[in-house]
Structures are given as C-alpha cells and as structure tokens.
C-alpha cells in the first residue's frame, strides 16, 4: 500500500504536475482545489501526508492547516511562495510540520515527504523522561498514566531529546535528526515546534521543566 498524499492547491497545472511527480515517486495523490472543501476531502481521503498551499481561494492555507491539526496529527507540509518571516511562522504556528519554498525541485519535494513519513527508530521500546513515558512502538505518550496526543513530528522531537537525557541538542542537530535536513535550514522550525510540544507536555509552558532551553546553544530534555 503506497502512502497517500493530499495535494491542496488552487493552481491546476501545479496540482497536476505535483501529482505526476508524486506518482512517479511511488505515492498515491489526491487533489483539492480550494480551502473550503479541504477538511471534507481530508476526512474522506484519510491521507498519510498533506501538501498545502498557503494562498488559497476561500479559506487560506493557514486556516486549513489549523482545522486539520484540530482533528489529526497527520504531517502537513506547506507550499509557500513567501519566505517573509511572518508568513512562515504563521504556518508553523498553525501546525505545519515543515515548509517548502516555491519553486522547488522534484527531488526536494519527494525527499521532504519521505523524511516526514519515515518512522523514527529507537533501541528501546519505552523511554521515560520526567513524568512522561514514551511508548515507541505504539507511538503514544503517557503523562502520569494518562495519554497525551502528539503529532508524529512532536513525538519524534520529544523522543530524540528523551533518548539522550541531559544532552544538549543544537537546533541544527534537531533539524537533521527530526526533520531530515542535511544542510542549513530554517531554525525557526525547531523553535516553533518546541513551543508547540511544550504547550502539550509542560505544566507551565512559559516555565518549562521537561524540555528546557540552553541559552545560546539549543535544547535538552530531563
């Protein structure tokens, strides 16, 4: 069974072209041309990953992203023509896992999709950090016995940090291990997702105890 990708983009030619690239890379694409139908299409198609254009007729990409995040942790990659700080950060804060700036190459598109679909491996079956227990096989996090719902990306981020407690990870290290970037990438990806993760696992996200910031270097768990 090939991974299903939902392409939400209003540009017919681009949608079809992305479909061709995805099909030839071994994915099963489905399409949605506007923001208003996106959620319905998402529920119906149940994709493994969503490619979402930021500028859409009807609801914009940011709003669609937020809607999908409300009901699912499915990886979302934003397609953006903008690299302006606010647009990218808005998309990430709305729950997008990653973003690709137009115009992009076919190889970049497939590499980013594969990086998001690849499950994270671990030597242990369960990892504990503070009050949290990570069930690696079941992709579940229990806090004091009750489950917390994390997106796969958030789970991977937490697992990466928790596997080596006390070790400080730089943002670049996290970009490589969690996002699969092997060259310099946008460190805001890390900042925004650490914030999202903290808001789910910490008692007081402004005063984190589990994932702490090491000023000038990066983050560590425990």
């Amino acid at each position: 069974m090939t991974p299903k990708i939902l392409v939400i983009d209003d540009d017919n030619a681009l949608r079809e072209m992305v479909g061709i690239v995805l099909s030839s890379a071994g994915f099963t694409p489905a399409y949605c041309p506007d923001g208003d139908q996106a959620l319905e299409k998402f529920k119906q198609f149940e994709p493994d990953l969503v490619l979402l254009d930021v500028m859409l007729p009807g609801k914009d990409g940011i709003a669609v992203c937020r809607e999908i995040r409300n009901i699912s942790g499915t990886p979302i990659i934003m397609l953006t023509a903008k690299t302006e700080t606010t647009d990218v950060v808005l998309g990430l804060e709305a729950g997008a896992d990653d973003y690709i700036v137009k115009p992009f190459e076919p190889s970049v598109l497939t590499a980013r999709i594969k990086a998001r679909l690849r499950p994270m491996t671990s030597l242990e079956d369960t990892v504990t950090v503070g009050p949290l227990t990570l069930d690696v096989v079941g992709h579940q996090v229990l806090k004091n016995g009750s489950p917390i719902s994390l997106t796969p990306l958030e789970f991977n981020l937490l697992l990466t940090l928790a596997q080596k407690p006390k070790q400080v990870f730089t943002r670049e290290m996290l970009l490589e291990k969690v996002w699969g970037y092997h060259y310099k990438a946008d460190t805001r990806l890390v900042n925004v997702h650490v914030q999202r993760l903290r808001s789910k696992i910490e008692e007081d996200p402004d005063n984190p105890k589990i994932v702490t910031t090491v000023r000038g270097i990066g983050y560590r768990a425990g």
Binding site: K82, K102, P103, P106, L109
Partner: protein
C-alpha cells in the same frame, strides 16, 4: 548669563526692557531731583532775602533812632544787634556778623560783634567788596559751611547775605547774615533717597511684569516647539489648541494645517509603500507558482534526457539551465524590489567573519575549479566577531567571489580579511581584465555589465552588485572598489563591528586610492 541671553528670547526681552526702563527712570529721577533741589533752594532763598532785608532795615533803624554818643554805649548797642538778629529769624540756624569796612579813616576802636560758632573766613573778600559797592542793596552768595561736631567736620550748604550799614560815629559797617541750609539739604536728601528706592522698586516691578508678559507671549511658541518635536518623533496626530482670533491662534491654525498636510502626505506615502510591498508579495506568488510547475516539468524531462533523441535531449538541457537562471533572476528582482519598498530587515547576530568568508569560498569552489582560478585567503587567526546578517553577507561575498572568478581570467583570486577596533573588512581581488574609470562609475548600476560583448558564462543577473550595495548599506557599512584596465579589480567590504556605530577607517587598504570608485 550670556549663554542664557543667547538661548532665550524671553531673557533677552526682559533684559532689554529692564535696561531701557532703567535708563529712562534714571533720567527722570535725575530731572526730578534737580528741579526739586532747585525749587527748595529758590523758596528758601527768597525767604532768606526777605528776612535779611527786614533785618537790615531793622538794624539801620535801630542805629538811626539811637542817640548814643559815647563809645561804650555804642559798643553795647552794637553787641545787642547780633543776638537780636539771631533770635528774629524763622530758622534757628542764623548767624550774624557786623563787620567794619576796611579802608576808613580813623582807627577802629569798637569790637565787631560776631555770632559764636561763625567763622568769618566763609565770607569771602570779593563778596565783601561787592557788598561794599552795592549801594545799600542786599546781596547773597552760596557758601559751604563746616561745623566741627564731636570731632567730625560736617559740611553743609549755606547762604551768606550781606549789606552795608552806616553806623553813626563808627563809620561804614557791613552786616552779614549766614544761613545754614542743612535742613533744606536734608529734605532734598530724603527726596532723592525716596526717588532712588522708588526707581529701583519700579525697575524690579517692570522686570517682573515684562517677564510675565513675555512668558505669556512665548508660551504658545514653546508649546508649538514641543508639538513639533512630538510630530518629528512620529506622533503625527498631535495638534496645537486653536483658541481665539489673535496672531497666536493664527499661528496655531497654520501649524495645524501644516501638520495635517504632512500627515496626509506621510500616510499616503506609507500606503503607497504598503501597496508596493503587497505588490511584490503578490508578484512573488503569482510568478512562483507557474515557475514551480515549469521547474518540476523541466526537471522530469532533464532527468529522463538520456532516453530522448539528441535534439530533444539538448532542448531539455537548455530548458533546465534557463529555468535555473530564471529563478535566480526572479529571486534577485524580488530582493531588489524588497529593498526599494524598504521591506528589508537585517537579522543581526554576532558572527565570525572568518567562518562566513570560508562558507562563501566553499560554496563558490565548483565555479572556481571550473574556471581554473585559485582562491588565496589571507586572514588573521581566531574569530573575527562582528554583528551582521550572516545570510546576506555570505551572499554578498559569494557574489564578489563569483565576479572575481568570472573576470579573473583564471588568475589567482585573493581574499583578505582584516579588523580594527571598530570595523571588520574583506577584500576580494582579481588580477584579470579590470575596468576603466568610466566602467568603474557604473559598476553598481542595475543590469549593467562591464563588457556587454562578453559571454554570460556564469549566468549572473546584472543585479548582483546592486543587491550587494543594498546589503552593505543595510548594515551601515561601505563597499569600495578599485580597478584598472588589465590590472584587475578589488572590492572592499567594510562593516561596523557593532551596528549603528560609525566607520572611521577601514581595516584594509585598497591597492591605489586614486582610482577609487567610492560607493555606499
């Protein structure tokens, strides 16, 4: 004090008012004091003369009516004249002398009676002569009296009145009455003192009043100045209070009108700038979406080029190359329009310049190898820390390196890094074809190329140096260039170590300052 006068209109106005009114009050006071003194003297004088005439007549009558004929009786009569005259006067300070005129036949047997405390020296000889020749008229003269009072000599103005008197048996005598005017002088002193104190108080009051009046006048100007400052600081909606119909209200209205107009212009400009940014953003999206499709399609064709026949394969290769070029051009265009719209913000952080230079050289390495250019680096050891946007500075250096390689004709490229107390600098030099002075002047122009006939081998957009210059200005740095035909070119980037500080001197020198094309 002088500084205050120079700085404050109000202080100047008050000082001028006080000075002018001081002069006027002094003149007025002087005049008043003089005429009061004069008046007092005249009044006293006429009284004195009247008294004196009465006294003279009285004395004449006394002698005429007497019928003394022996010297002792005459002496007694003479002696009685003085106390009588001393007592008759209104003023208690009248002194009397009855002196015998000199130059008469016969010896003087009788004593001349003189009031005690009267020094006959005060009666001048010339005055006595005038009196003798006055033919019976009463004459007067102003004199200075001096009294010794408990060891202190007191001077006071006085008047001596004299008249000849004929005394039977004794011959010609002169009767002198000496009047002390010190009481009139005291009155005058008191008036003068009062005038002086009054004048000083008046000047003080005038100073205070003019201070109040000027501050009332200056206040609206001060408020206008404060409001101007606020507007200059960006509070465009601040206005002056318009009240009344006077000149100050006119000032306020004109000022507010000006502020309204400025605010409209600025708001308009801001909205134009916003529209421009919006346009850039829209163009970005609109162009990038079709370009993405083209790029994806082109790449699929390019990757499958080996399965195509030679004509189609070459077409796919050309398509691929030009799509890359198109993308670079689009990015450069968008970057420069972002600068034009003022929408660029530097992401400033402390970075090691050596490392950024290293990254730029590494990324340009394939091009250098391709063109056979060696890149030599001369840099001080350790970290060279400065505050800058690493992405932009690396791009800038990459661009300078690419230009050097493109125009360096395979000769070595030299990169030099330097620092001083306030600035850091990078020189990128090639020893290639160089540029003429005319070319040098246009080197930072958009879409300008040193040699239009040259092949566009490195696919530059012609915007590279224009963007580099913008990047440099964004950092408050300088980008200088030296070049000479067939001697190569050197570009020097100088950046302040701390943003906002002034660069006085670049840490690195250019080959020859005379051929300098200074920019930014």
């Amino acid at each position: 004090m002088l500084k205050l006068l120079r700085r404050s209109v109000q202080a100047r106005a008050v000082a001028t008012t006080v000075a002018l009114s001081g002069v006027l009050i002094a003149a007025l006071g002087g005049f008043l004091s003089f005429s009061i003194g004069n008046g007092l003297f005249e009044a006293r004088l006429s009284q004195i003369l009247a008294e004196s005439e009465a006294a003279v007549i009285d004395v004449q009558n006394t002698f005429a009516a007497s019928s003394v004929n022996d010297e002792v009786a005459l002496q007694t009569l003479l002696n009685s004249v003085v106390p009588k005259l001393e007592a008759t006067g209104v003023a208690d300070t009248r002194r009397v002398a009855l002196l015998r005129s000199p130059g008469q036949a016969g010896i003087q047997l009788l004593q001349s009676p003189i009031s005690s405390g009267l020094d006959t020296q005060v009666i001048g000889q010339s005055f006595r002569e005038e009196v003798r020749n006055s033919a019976g008229r009463v004459l007067y003269q102003s004199i200075q009296l001096s009294f010794a009072e408990s060891g202190i000599t007191r001077l006071s103005p006085g008047i001596v009145v004299g008249s000849p008197v004929e005394i039977p048996l004794a011959g010609k005598y002169e009767l002198y009455l000496v009047f002390d005017l010190s009481s009139a002088q005291q009155t005058l002193d008191f008036v003068q003192q009062t005038l002086l104190i009054g004048g000083l108080v008046l000047i003080f009051i005038i100073g205070g009043v003019s201070y109040l009046v000027t501050s009332w006048l200056v206040r609206p100007v001060k408020i206008a100045a404060e409001v101007s400052e606020e507007i200059a600081d960006g509070a465009l909606e601040v206005r002056l209070l318009e009240k009344g119909e006077d000149v100050i209200a006119v000032l306020a209205r004109s000022f507010n009108k000006m502020a309204d107009s400025l605010q409209r212009q600025i708001t308009k400009l801001a909205s134009v700038s916003k529209m421009q940014q919006r346009f850039v953003s829209d163009v970005s999206h609109e162009l990038r979406t079709p370009l993405t499709t083209i790029k994806l399609a082109g790449d699929l064709l390019f990757e499958a080029r080996d399965t195509l026949d030679p004509t189609l394969r070459r077409s796919a290769e050309l398509l691929h190359g030009q799509i890359v070029r198109f993308e670079v051009l689009l990015n450069d265009l968008l970057e420069i329009s972002r600068y034009d719209a003022g929408a660029v913000r530097a992401e400033l952080e402390i970075h090691d310049l050596n490392q950024v230079v290293g990254n730029a050289i590494a990324s340009i390495d394939p091009l250098a190898k391709n063109r056979g250019s060696q890149v030599e680096v001369v840099a001080p050891g350790g970290e060279i820390l400065a505050e800058f946007d690493a992405r932009r500075i690396e791009r800038l250096l990459r661009n300078l390196l690419a230009n050097a390689i493109e125009h360096g004709e395979g000769k070595p490229i030299r990169v030099e890094v330097g620092e001083n107390a306030h600035a850091v600098a990078v020189n990128v030099s090639d020893r290639g074809i160089g540029m003429t002075k005319a070319q040098l002047e246009r080197v930072f122009d958009r879409f300008w190329r040193a040699d239009p006939a040259r092949k566009r081998t490195s696919g530059g957009t012609g915007l590279g140096l224009a963007i580099s210059l913008e990047d440099t200005m964004l950092h408050g740095g300088t980008l200088d260039v030296w070049a000479a035909p067939d001697a190569g070119a050197t570009f020097r980037l100088t950046l302040p170590k701390v943003q906002g500080s002034e660069i006085t001197e670049s840490p690195l020198a250019l080959p020859n300052s005379e051929e300098l094309g200074d920019k930014a």
